[in-house]
Amino acid sequence: MKEKIAVQVDDLTVAYDYKPVLWDIDLSVPEGVLMAIVGPNGAGKSTLIKTILGIIKPIAGSVTIFGEPYKNQRKMVAYVPQKGSVDWDFPTTAFDVVLMGTYGSLGWIKRPGAKEKKIALESMEKVDMLSFRNRQISQLSGGQQQRVFLARALAQDASIYFMDEPLQGVDATTEIAIINILKELRKAGKTVIVVHHDLQTVPEYFDWVTFLNVKKIATGPVKDIFNDDNLTQTYGINYKVAVNK
């Protein structure tokens, strides 16, 4: 059975001044995987996601989503940024933030109506944040903020989800809740790509992994490539991790 490629990255290179941040990245992400991107600090993980999404301009390379250039496929892709990327003191409620997930489908000027509000409420329920919907976002905990961001992405009803360290700094309950949602997404045939900070949980949570350190070290199913060789190559030290086979 031929697998569809959800995200195809070719020769992607990003540099600040003379320093390469991403070098000649070739990546094929098949549809329906739950993939972790791992690597040391400064490896370019966030940069990779942002470049694929068009937030950062590469100096070379291309990105296609299901075979088409990314800019034609925006509606299929949802982004969950790092918690720290916004000012949580902004005057708005949790519901309002989730509602923003419907703005893409509305286009310019059109205001969200009953249909969009319903979608937002359903997304909030999926992340168990419905009771917080009228809460000012500055009054949310870290885990709750992360769930709001996730709900916003779910409201887009996309086919591919990019997430930047969604489990960083969240409580254990939230971590389990989020992973369960990601697994549900995969079951529904969606493709989920996650920058993940915790090597220990990679084999447990993900079925695919990409090792990144400015260059792509390896990519593939966790059971095949999550081994000491690749870990050492990526992290540069003799890295022994207990892998549950």
Binding site: L53, I55, T92, M100, L106, W108, R111, S131
Partner: protein
């Protein structure tokens, strides 16, 4: 002068009416658009732009020889826009951060503008007096055509803000995410910045180059204290700005020697101070009151918990105990006993206290972090 005298004067005096309307409209539009600058953490952008407008005013006079506000403000607009463009250019193309870029443009343009002003003043031609009114504003020189222009610009700004409301909201909150869902963030960004520059240029006549940033920031800062909703904040900022304008004009009209611009700014600052202290949600006064209330509640809860620990050791939780065993417990006061009884958590019988079922349950669930439901 009394209130009735003021309204009487307002009704009959065309000049006062014009100036009041002008400063009100200006206050409203600057308050409204200033909210955008404040929320984008570009608070000093207004300051930089207003200072950058000065050379434009001077050059407009030097080139055309005309001193009407239309020409000069056009010059201000051009030079303000150039300054803004260069600020953005410096931040995006060099390693300098935005605060450095703002400072550089502000001081360089302003310095150049002052240079031109002193050059103009030294000219033998007697026609050059009065340009320096743009430094601190001279609201007394507002005429009906100026006010009409302000009203039109305010109307257009309001229309644009309402039209692109959700786009502004999302761009202010999360610009990167906005890009990913397909909006041209550059367009929205340019639109907001252009409106801010326009408001600043219009305000130069009233509050002047030096004080402009206050009328942009103070109403928004004050408004933020009273609400957690974006729409309400912007509306309140407009309201506070308008009131600052009206009150400032009234005060300066009643005292002959006071210049309107600074008075308006000071009144706007009073709004901010008042809001910082007295606003119910975020105000310092209410925070202090809530803090003390919480501390009192905590004493009460600790006493209840202490009683719970005693009661739980007995088969009958409502077994009476002597009050004096509480004497060594820190936080216990006679007042707390009364309060605990009022809440129905304990019963007092003579020299003894006994826990009720309600009190027992309350203490038991205290350490259970249940999520708060709306």
């Amino acid at each position: 002068m009394s209130i009735t005298e003021y309204f009487d004067l307002l009704w009959h005096d065309y000049t006062l009416r014009t100036i009041t309307l002008g400063t009100a409209v200006l206050g409203a539009v600057c308050g409204m658009l200033g909210s955008f600058a404040v929320l984008r953490k570009e608070s000093l952008l207004g300051d930089a732009i207003s200072h950058a407008a000065l050379p434009g005013i001077a050059l407009a006079f030097l080139i055309t020889g005309a001193k009407d506000s239309g020409t000069l403000l056009l010059g201000a607009l051009v030079s303000g826009l150039i300054g803004t463009y260069w600020i953005r250019g410096i931040t995006s193309k060099t390693h300098l951060k935005s605060d450095t870029a703002l400072g550089l443009i502000l001081s360089t343009f302003f310095g150049f503008g002052m240079l031109l002003l002193t050059f103009i003043q030294k000219q033998p031609n007697a026609n050059q007096a009065g340009l320096d009114k743009y430094l601190f504003g001279q609201a007394a020189t507002l005429v009906e055509s100026d006010v009409r222009l302000m009203v039109i610009v305010t109307g257009i700004s309001l229309f644009v803000v309402l039209l692109f409301w959700k786009e502004f909201k999302i761009l202010l909150f999360d610009p990167e995410y906005t890009k990913t869902i397909g909006f041209n963030t550059k367009f929205i960004d340019v639109l907001v910045t252009f409106l801010i520059v326009l408001a600043i240029v219009l305000g130069l006549q009233t509050v002047g180059v030096v004080l402009m940033s206050a009328i942009l920031l103070a109403p928004a800062a004050a408004a933020r204290q009273w609400t957690n909703r974006l729409g309400t904040m912007i509306f309140l900022a407009g309201l506070f700005g308008a009131f600052s304008g009206v009150l400032g004009t009234a005060v300066s009209a009643s005292q002959d020697n006071l210049s309107t611009g600074p008075v308006i700014v000071l009144i706007a600052s009073v709004f901010v101070l008042f809001s910082l202290i007295f606003s119910p949600g975020r105000g310092l006064l209410f925070r202090e009151i809530r803090f003390r209330q919480n501390r009192k509640d905590l004493q009460l809860m600790k006493t209840l918990q202490f009683m719970y620990d005693i009661a739980i050791d007995h088969e009958n939780i409502s077994h009476p105990h002597a009050i004096r065993i509480l004497n060594n417990f820190q936080g216990y006061t006679k007042g707390s006993l009364k309060k605990l009884e009022n809440e129905g958590w304990i019963k007092i019988q003579g020299q003894d206290w006994a826990m009720t079922q309600r009190g027992f349950n309350k203490a038991a669930e205290m350490y259970n972090q249940q999520p708060v439901h709306e």
